[in-house]
């Protein structure tokens, strides 16, 4: 009898992991999917768009100084007061902002996940100490920390990156730690330990993968935060400096020209807002698809 049942199930439905099911659910969310496509378009545009032009964003064209936007080749959106093409500068600034955004979220996420997983798994006094450190850092005014750190690392892109990562790994650490704490008490962890796995193996092979859905949801919220921090600092003149472009310093120089020409402010501003909007919709969609309470 039981053999019969087994033989009837020889062709099981294609296995679908929870992660795959969750992504399937995400794909049904039209707003989130549209955001994914728009974001992909912007990313591609930023990284490959500048190659379509015969100059870079740092080349000054003295025949067209402060040219207005009249959508004519080669200066589609006009030029700034140094004769540099606005569109190309905005696209190149996007490369910087997007790279820092995604890379920063990734690095902050990895640090936070490992820290949280270890703290939650080890427990006891070490956990208490590790979390007290996080709590203290949480109480700091974020701006002060990020400004000080970017000064400490001596300015420049890498300093900015380090400062942002250093201030943003806290939230994933707290979230993963809570998850890891409840996981650490489960039977399969006990079984793994009984089977002779070391603590490090358990953390990397059981705890971290089981936190993945939470991490993806909060990681997606980290990306807009990092981009915002970068442009915030560059706007204040602490982050990325001229002549290198970033959305923050483009907006800042657009601000100083706003009485005569809003276009210098609008183009980077609108693009930044679009990216943040897309990332927020994607994060919302991921949360809806991954949130176990809603299943």
């Amino acid at each position: 009898m039981s053999v019969d049942v087994l033989s009837r199930e020889t062709a099981p439905p294609p296995s679908a992991s929870t992660l795959r099911l969750q992504f399937r659910r995400f794909r049904k969310n039209h707003l989130a999917m549209a955001s994914v496509w728009l974001l992909a378009l912007i990313v591609l545009g930023c990284f490959f768009g500048p190659y379509a032009f015969p100059f870079t964003g740092e080349d000054a064209d003295f025949d067209f100084i402060s040219a207005p936007a009249h959508f004519q080749w080669p200066h589609l959106f006009g030029t700034d007061e140094f004769g540099r093409d606005l569109l190309v500068r905005v696209l190149e600034g996007g490369q910087v902002s997007l790279t820092i955004g995604f890379l920063g979220a990734l690095v902050a996420g990895v640090i936070g996940v490992l820290y949280g997983a270890v703290a939650g798994f080890v427990g006891g006094r070490a956990d208490g100490l590790m979390m007290r450190a996080v709590e203290i850092l949480y109480g700091f005014p974020y701006v002060i920390l990020v400004i000080l750190l970017s000064l400490l690392f001596g300015g420049g892109n890498l300093a900015l990156f380090a400062a942002i990562v250093f201030t943003l790994w806290l939230t994933p650490a707290v979230i993963v730690r809570a998850q890891a704490q409840s996981l650490a008490r489960r039977e399969f962890i006990e079984a793994a330990r009984a089977g002779g796995m070391t603590g490090r193996q358990i953390v990397l092979e059981h705890i971290v993968p089981n936190c993945m859905s939470v991490v993806i949801v909060y990681g997606s919220l980290l990306v807009p935060e990092v981009i915002l921090s970068e442009s915030f600092l560059s706007f204040l003149g602490i982050g990325i400096k001229e002549p290198q472009a970033s959305w923050g310093n483009l907006i800042s120089s657009g601000t100083s020209a706003m009485d005569s020409d809003l276009r210098l402010l609008l183009l980077p501003g609108v693009l930044l807002a679009l990216v943040l909007l897309c990332l927020n919709f994607i994060a919302d969609g991921l949360r809806d698809a991954f949130d176990p309470n809603d299943r």
């Binding site: 709590e135 109480g139 700091f140 005014p141 000080l148 400490l152 001596g154 706007f235 402010l265 927020n280």
Partner: protein, 307 residues
């Protein structure tokens, strides 16, 4: 309850001490100093200036001097603004920063809660869509984009408000307050809407309706108390957001508050001023976080007994 408050205060004090210590040493380790200029001055003069500000002493002595100064309510002289003490600079900037921050929080709370309630009570109505739009715009468009756009439109085009500065009294503070409040309106209205929709479904609300309590009464005494808990919990982070925002706002609108002072001081390596403002910001933020926790603990006994 008293034990709860005492514990929070103790932790807050520790946090503040850690913040101040970290800031002090990070600031000193950062390259450059308050008197390293491009202009060459003779080493004797340089040494004299540094001796006057005690910069020639070992670090731990300088730190001890700073702590001793804090205990005597004296933050020392600014190294950038000659003849001004840090106390003077903060005293002159704080009123502007506090006024803008205070009104921004008040407006954000009132408008945000109203929009969120309207959205939750009449879902998919005009106010709901309005709140949704404000929420999306407020979260996605950073204030350093909205601010200049508002300036260009309301100040330059329409001429309703001054572009910046504080010479026009209250009128010159209206735009900064609105721009600073906007992202917080967005967060608060979203929070209020979701938590209110959840609370409306709760059993105690249905019971109250079933036993014949009036709708208005149910709303104020059964729904709102529960629905506003997450909003109150947001007030702590909101303070942090206001501090961050005020730095931008004061830069954009040329308000002589302490936010702009902080950025300038950090860039100029004005050590005493950086320390003073860090102490102030950190203290404010920690006090607000503690206040938030205490209010939540009063409203929700579950939090009180935690830990």
């Amino acid at each position: 309850m008293l034990r709860f408050i005492g514990k929070r205060l103790w932790h807050g004090g520790l946090t503040l001490a850690a913040l101040v210590t970290l800031t002090f040493f990070v600031m000193r380790l950062a390259p450059g100093g308050p008197f390293s200029r491009n202009r060459k001055i003779s080493p004797e003069v340089q040494a004299n200036i540094e001796a006057a500000f005690h910069l020639d002493e070992p670090l731990w002595m300088q730190f001890g001097r700073f702590v001793w100064g804090v205990l005597r309510w004296d933050l020392g002289p600014s190294t950038k603004h000659r003849d001004y003490s840090v106390n003077d600079l903060i005293a002159s900037g704080l009123p502007y920063s506090l006024t803008i921050g205070f009104w921004a929080i008040v407006i954000a709370a009132l408008v945000g809660i109203a929009l969120g309630m309207a959205g939750a009570l009449r879902r998919n109505s005009v106010p709901d869509y309005l709140a949704g739009t404000v929420g999306v715009v407020g979260i996605a468009v950073p204030i350093f984009v909205i601010g200049p756009l508002f300036q260009a439109f309301f100040s330059l085009r329409l001429g309703w408000f001054p572009v910046g500065g504080v010479n026009d009294g209250a009128r010159s503070l209206i735009l900064p307050v609105i721009v600073l409040a906007l992202p917080n309106i967005a967060y608060i209205s979203r929070l209020t809407r979701t938590s209110m929709i959840e609370t409306l479904r709760e059993n105690h609300v249905r019971t109250a309706r079933a036993k014949g309590v009036g709708w208005r009464r149910v709303l104020t005494s059964h729904v709102l108390t529960g629905a506003l808990l997450p909003v109150i919990a947001y007030l702590g982070p909101a303070t942090a957001a206001i501090i961050t925002g005020s730095i931008l706002i004061e830069t954009m609108f040329a308000v002589p508050g302490i936010g702009r002072h902080f950025v300038d001081a950090a860039l100029n390596r004005d050590y005493p001023l950086v320390m003073g403002i860090t102490l102030l910001y950190g203290g404010l933020l920690i006090l607000f976080n503690i206040g938030t926790d205490v209010i939540r603990a009063i409203l929700d006994p579950r939090i009180r007994n935690e830990r």
